[in-house]
């Protein structure tokens, strides 16, 4: 019998956060890293293993069967309303279910699931500090979010189904960086659309801080749900000002109908429900993560915005070259 080797598994390792996390773990902690993702992992460090398989297929189980996995970082949750909804739904829900099953079957002591702060959803009657026990209403107007909420709920059910596994659910604020997520893409627009008479408060988080939070969640003994909040919330227009962009003022009255039609015809990049994000606030209370995870953000709003805008040559360091070696990753 092969001696079992200790390692951590990262799902969705081909994504931006997955790559950053793999590099950090491989470099700083000196542990064996195995990634699962159908996507490529360009310029992968040599000793990071990469299984290019679909999590829902049989092959993934082999990894857990033959090796002792210490931590699973489940970052392979997809959020892209442009994808086929059925594929999107089964990928997220079956994938998460599968990873939790593996954890249970092969005695993985720790599972960290990267959910999203979007599960709360923007609404006019949100409190200014949404705590972890608030209802997950993100899909009330934005149906595409329902599987992200299901993922979050599935992970939460693991708290009582399998108390022997330390399950951690992280709900980060809007992550800014070289990723292709909605906020980063939004700020990259040449003229950034805003709604007349609305200027909600937003919380942004640098991608490196998001990765730091994921690492903090792996601390033994930690379990539960955590909002991950970076620098102080700021008004939307202030954020656009920091990005040095012009705003495009739109009326909120007829816009949803127009946008929905354009989205159906594939002229618009986003469905109308996403307009709620620039209309209402959904700011979270990050005090639990600060107390329990001892999570402190390192990067400010300006650095996070800069990270989102410099996407073609991203060398792993932010301006001033703070605490990161110059590792060139490819463009997305």
């Amino acid at each position: 019998m092969v001696r079992k080797q200790s390692l951590v598994v990262i799902t969705g390792v081909g994504g931006r956060l997955g790559q950053l996390l793999a590099r950090r773990l491989h470099r700083q902690e000196g542990v064996q890293v195995a990634g699962i993702d159908r996507r490529a992992f360009p310029r992968k460090p040599v000793d990071v293993e990469h299984l290019r398989i679909d999590l829902r297929r049989k092959g993934a189980e082999e990894l857990f069967r033959t090796r002792q996995v210490d931590v699973i970082f489940h970052l392979g949750v997809m959020h892209d309303p442009r994808k086929d909804t059925r594929e999107h739904h089964t990928w997220n829900i079956r994938g998460t279910q599968q990873i939790l099953e593996f954890a249970h079957r092969y005695n993985v002591p720790k599972v960290v699931i990267l959910s999203t702060g979007d599960v709360y959803g923007p609404a006019g009657d949100n409190p200014s500090f949404i705590t972890e026990d608030a209802p997950l209403l993100g899909a009330q107007r934005f149906a595409a979010l329902r599987d992200l909420i299901a993922v979050d709920m599935t992970a939460q059910s693991w708290f009582w189904k399998h108390p022997e596994i330390e399950t951690v659910v992280l709900r980060p604020a809007h992550i800014l960086g070289a990723t292709h997520n909605a906020v980063s893409n939004y700020l990259r627009l040449p003229r950034v659309p805003v709604l007349m008479g609305f200027d909600p408060m937003l919380q942004v988080l640098h991608e490196e801080d998001a990765v730091a939070a994921v690492l903090a969640a792996a601390t033994p003994g930690v379990r539960g749900v955590f909002n991950i909040v970076g620098p102080d919330a700021l008004p939307l227009r202030k954020l656009i000002e920091v990005a040095g962009k012009e705003t495009l003022e739109l009326p909120h009255v007829l816009l949803p109908a127009v946008v929905n039609r354009l989205f159906q015809m594939r002229f618009a990049e986003f469905p109308a429900a996403e307009l709620d994000y620039i209309r209402y606030a959904a700011t979270m209370d990050g005090s639990r993560a600060r107390e329990v995870l001892r999570f402190r953000h390192v990067y400010g709003v300006r650095e996070a915005v800069a990270a989102a805008l410099r996407r073609d040559i991203f060398d792993g360091s932010v301006e001033g070259g703070r605490k990161s070696p110059r590792l060139r990753t490819t463009r997305f």
Binding site: P127, S128, G197, F198, D199, M201, L234, R237, V301
Partner: protein, 334 residues
């Protein structure tokens, strides 16, 4: 029939009108000596003169140095983020643009008179007021008084109706000026930060009541009392007299209100020819009475029956001040 001059025609029309008005007055309230219309026109004349004199003298404007000092004082005690905005969206610097509007409403249009404003204590405090006037100018007046007349200046963090957050303008200006969405959690956090929070426990029920029910307060919610007990906050009752007459509400169009997701849709006499402009308040005179701070003790999670007398005590205090205001005032506009 001889051709009449324009003046003659006008005089004749005036005479007919006077006769009709007198007959109407005799029918409505025969015992009153001075006809209502005469009283109103005299008052309006006086109010117009006052407003014109104030505008010409320029004394209604808060001097720039004074504004700077007050905003600097506000900035001192406030925890603000990197961009000068607190987590609720309040940015003291944004008040600067609002000061002229506040000056105008408080000192010119409503010529508000504040009684015992200095009763508002330092530190955390809940201001509890009666709500009236179809549009929340009473909240604006109390907020303006706290900012421009109270020493030291305070920012009244107004709890706004949840529906209003869907209206354009709320998302930016109203939040920047210190208002927050009216949720218990927001209120609790503000009080724990030793802020001054303004609550209208009658909510939409109170502000939208028809004209015939003026100065009859509707039922008070109990939430404010539970929060006061929980956070050990003194309550300052406030009575606003005058705002009831700023817009005459003959009734509410409930169906239209429901269609537009508004809590109410008042019918006002001017609506037929002025449209939405009929919601512009008439230049009534505001009298704002501040009561002695009240402190309560008890379990915030007590039964409604235990909380109710405490709420009633606050309501009674407002009622007393309101009665005093109604006794003391000469008229609606003066």
């Amino acid at each position: 029939m001889p051709r009449r001059t324009l003046h003659e025609r006008y005089a004749r029309l005036h005479k007919l009108g006077m006769q009709a008005a007198n007959q109407l007055q005799a029918f409505v309230s025969p015992e009153q000596e001075r006809p209502l219309w005469q009283q109103l026109s005299e008052e309006l004349g006086e109010a117009t003169q006052d407003i014109a004199a104030l505008l010409l003298s320029g004394t209604w404007r808060t001097p720039d140095e004074e504004v700077d000092r007050r905003i600097a004082q506000l900035l001192q005690g406030q925890h603000l983020g990197e961009f000068g905005v607190d987590p609720f969206g309040y940015a003291p610097e944004s008040l600067r643009v609002m000061v002229p509007i506040m000056d105008f409403l408080l000192r010119v249009w409503f010529r508000a008179e504040c009684f015992d404003l200095n009763r508002v204590p330092e530190g955390r405090v809940l201001l509890i007021a009666n709500h009236s006037g179809q549009l929340p100018f009473d909240g604006m007046a109390i907020g303006s008084a706290m900012l421009l007349e109270h020493e030291p200046p305070r920012i009244a963090r107004t709890m706004v109706e949840k529906f209003a957050t869907a209206l354009p303008g709320f998302g930016d200006l109203v939040y920047r000026c210190g208002s927050v969405t009216g949720l218990p959690d927001n209120c609790r956090r503000l009080l724990e930060n030793d802020e001054c929070v303004l609550v209208f426990p009658e909510g939409a029920r109170g502000i939208a009541k028809p004209f015939r029910e003026r100065y009859r307060m509707t039922a008070f919610g109990q939430g404010f009392m539970r929060l006061a007990l929980e956070t050990n906050t003194p309550i300052v009752p406030i009575a606003v007299v005058g705002a009831e007459e700023q817009t005459i509400n003959l009734g509410n169009l409930e169906l239209l209100a429901r269609l537009l997701h508004f809590p109410s849709m008042p019918i006002t006499p001017g609506m037929a020819f002025l449209g939405p402009l009929a919601m512009v308040p008439s230049p009534v005179k505001y009298r704002i009475y501040f009561g002695e701070p009240m402190t309560f003790e008890g379990d915030p999670n007590d039964d409604e029956a235990v909380i109710a007398p405490k709420v009633a005590a606050v309501k009674a205090s407002i009622q007393t001040m309101m009665d005093r205001g109604l006794r003391e005032r000469r008229g609606y506009f003066v």
